[in-house]
Symmetry: C2
Subunit: 162 residues, 2 copies
Amino acid sequence: MSTHAQSQAQPQPHADPSQESATYRRYLSAVLLHGHAGAKACGLGATDLYALNVLDLGGPMTPGELGARTGLTTGPTTRLVDRLEAAGYVRRVPSPDDRRKVIVEPVGRPAELDRVLAPARRRLGELLGSYPPEQRAVLFDYFARATEAYREAAEQLRDPEE
Amino acid sequence: MSTHAQSQAQPQPHADPSQESATYRRYLSAVLLHGHAGAKACGLGATDLYALNVLDLGGPMTPGELGARTGLTTGPTTRLVDRLEAAGYVRRVPSPDDRRKVIVEPVGRPAELDRVLAPARRRLGELLGSYPPEQRAVLFDYFARATEAYREAAEQLRDPEE
DNA sequence: CCTAATCTCTTCTCTAAAGAAGAGGAATCC
DNA sequence: GGATTCCTCTTCTTTAGAGAAGAGATTAGG
């Protein structure tokens, strides 16, 4: 097993679409499983991981915005930012144009999380590097498009009526 | 925006590898975000989603095995299976060869979870369908290989010494 | 200017889920 | 066939995290 990354020029196509569906679902499960396991290994709760992903996708934002996107009221939001700040994942910066506001921005290198995710990153990097450039271009084209689709779907799950 | 799924025959390759890395990280964040949002919309806790993914990847197993893979002791494991069974996601089946054992198996259609994830599935299905067959083959080749990589990485996160 | 609205943070309370310890039934080994 | 081991489930206790309500500081509007 694990003789991956041979990557012949023409990977055999799946004949059966339902087989494709099962393959894709298992793939998503594995991605989620790995994300959860990594967060747990860092002592991060589910909400903390969620918020980090929100920040990763949405960029720096105020605690109010972060709380709204995470589905929390102001109390838990403050404590959430406290936890993330204490763990070194984010930083509070005063807003330049409104002194009531605070900007929560991700810190450059979340060391602990990066450390536990490093083995997977390395393996996936090798896997991606094993494809010829034109195939890798297809993969990254998909990644970029899928990111948008998932992000919008997640937003609609959060605010079903909007 | 959202003019996806045009998929020219040759998507432009990324010139900068660090750009690739950022694209990939954002993609993973979006996948995780969508998974969390879906679970939350169904009233599933983080552990419940984790366990469902374990079952999806590992197939039917005993509560003991599920608890071990989820990192729980026996008490919470029983309640976890109780919750999943009450919500209609899994079923307890007596083991045919050892009457002490119980097999936890996923139920065919977890209706609620499927319902909330359906919009994303549909959009991603359209996206995948928009690629010509040989490019789609590359994508599914990647999905299958990446599944193994993530699964093994998640296992090593759970049992760092093994 | 003085009032109203907005943003963050604090305190108190409450619920959901995890751990620890142990009971009961079933299989295995001598 | 009797003792030991194994698997699941139950009970009790504890902790982490969420909601509600309000205080303090700052901005906007009449």
